[in-house]
Assembly symmetry: C2
Homo-oligomer: 325 residues x 2
């Protein structure tokens, strides 16, 4: 089942079903007016949504054309946005770029940060660029939306809490990071609003590609029209989404609608390319002594998409342009 | 105007007006079913709420007895919980306790962290204690609830975005902090769910005590029945709430219902006492070479309250017991 949130002039938009081929959509206000309302009452809403999705797929109900430009983020605002950093190659590269050591517990204790979740960008919203000196970067990631998840959930018991899967562009202001982390309280201003894919899908929609809390598909990042990365999101995700759930529930519980991110998808093989410019710049520094690729500037475009084994877009495309403010 | 959220079996509770003396309350579902709904539509809701509050105060409408035990947090879940650390004496003491230096920009660049906001504790909810070795501590703070606040808001323009003021117990697991901060991503597991006062009040309700984005009243922390702190929340708040808004809006905007905290209220004068056990332990270390006061254990109680110049409780009392889990 695929779900989207359509713009309707309200803060939280209108929940809609989307066909598997992303061609048709169908508002479902009679089942749940918003994505959050569906998640808050998933036990009731899910079977109704699935039945309606079957009707849409079978042609028993006609949808209208689906246009990602008419989408807000699946959750235009969320009660939490927790982002991991589960691809260790990314951690190693990015820390090298800022002359910081990876933590000693890199392989055993997941890195996560709490991001701002009250204002999230839609899949085709511009990325605001206030000051080019801040070092604007994209980060292509996978994320899940959780149902109500109790404190003390173990990784082995976490599967039922994953309601939906989607993509994220975790927008980052690289040059604000060093001073901010030096203060000791983690990221804040360096992580402005992130953008999410047009569609969020139930894990079963991914078929065999959803295994052990990982999405075993490739994540394509197209920067200014050129393929920058075609990274494999499954094998090198050191901590699965289940592992991340086991970590974040150590001391507290989560409400339905909490978004949990994978961190930047990153592969050791350079042939796979990159999912953020910081990695590209680090590779250039290793090879030539200094970074060559600049950070993003006004007018730049970034497209992020995941294709299934048959080459069909699973979540639709995050497709953003950097806009000077 | 004073507002509370009453338990009604739903996730977000029922919005109610509370009389100035905290004796009577009046549900206002016809104006806005929940606190978030009122904040989302404040321009419409505020005058209606104020008119109803006038009716309650004048006895034209009868309220029912107000019982803080029947309260959820004013926002049982919020879209963001951003906590500052605006009392520099606290930063200096707590960093000393963990042998960490205050940041070089302590006096010019506010410290803030992004906390979890999806599950917030009510004013009389137990504080869960999973493992006493985690070092459970309270932190008595003031917080404001923001309306929609644009990116780039300057401190001098921030006043209109402060909708409500309340108190917080920012529960902290001290012994989880060093390892967590060593990873470089800030607090996460070390900051479990925080608890909020029974009542949130509009700034005008504070009269002359609300000046320059600070609450000039004393915050009382009573630990296991003994007065631990009677700290002045105004004068030593180095960064006002307006300054904090100016900082947090540097790179992003905030949705209505965002909670912004002051950080632990702390005074240089030892005579004022403490608003968290970590400060007490640091003072003991300075004086005697080692901390004497243990962190919180099962059965401990903490009460947090602010009195006005006439000695009347402004926000009601946070009154929690530590419960082993």
């Amino acid at each position: 089942m695929k779900l989207a949130t359509l713009r309707n002039g309200t803060r939280d938009g209108a929940l809609a079903l989307v066909s598997a081929d992303l061609r048709a959509c169908l508002p479902v206000a009679d089942i749940a007016p918003t994505m959050q309302a569906a998640l808050d009452d998933w036990g009731r809403a899910e079977p109704l949504l699935r039945a309606r999705a079957d009707d849409l797929a079978a042609g028993r109900i006609a949808g209208s054309p689906f246009d990602p430009k008419g989408c807000l983020s699946p959750l235009p605002r969320a009660y939490e946005w927790v982002d991991g950093s589960a691809y260790l190659n990314h951690v190693r590269l990015v820390r090298k770029a800022r002359n910081a050591e990876p933590p000693a517990t890199l392989e055993t204790d997941p890195l996560v940060y709490q991001g701002g979740s009250g204002v999230l960008l839609g899949p085709t919203d511009d990325i605001p660029l206030v000051d080019p000196a801040w070092g604007l970067d994209f980060e292509s990631e996978v994320a899940v939306i959780l149902g109500d998840t109790p404190r003390g959930t173990r990784a082995g018991d976490a599967a039922p809490y994953v309601r939906l899967v989607m993509l994220v562009n975790d927008v980052t202001l690289r040059n604000l990071i060093p001073d901010e982390l030096a203060k000791g309280f983690g990221f804040f201003c360096s992580k402005p609003a992130s953008a999410f894919s047009p569609v969020a899908v139930t894990p079963d929609e991914l078929g065999e590609a959803w295994r052990n809390g990982r999405v075993h598909l490739r994540l394509r990042s197209v920067y200014n029209g050129a393929l920058a990365g075609d990274t494999e999101a499954g094998a090198e995700m050191h901590f699965s989404f289940y592992d991340l759930i086991g970590h974040i529930t150590k001391t507290r519980a989560y409400t339905a609608g909490t978004i949990l991110g994978s961190g930047t998808v990153s592969n050791v093989s350079r042939a796979r390319g990159i999912s953020c410019l910081a990695e590209q710049r680090t590779i250039e520094t290793i090879d030539t002594g200094k970074p060559v690729t600049p950070f993003m500037k006004a007018g730049d475009t970034i497209a992020i998409e995941m294709l299934d084994a048959q080459g069909r877009s699973v979540f639709g495309r995050i497709e953003q342009t950097v806009a000077a403010q």
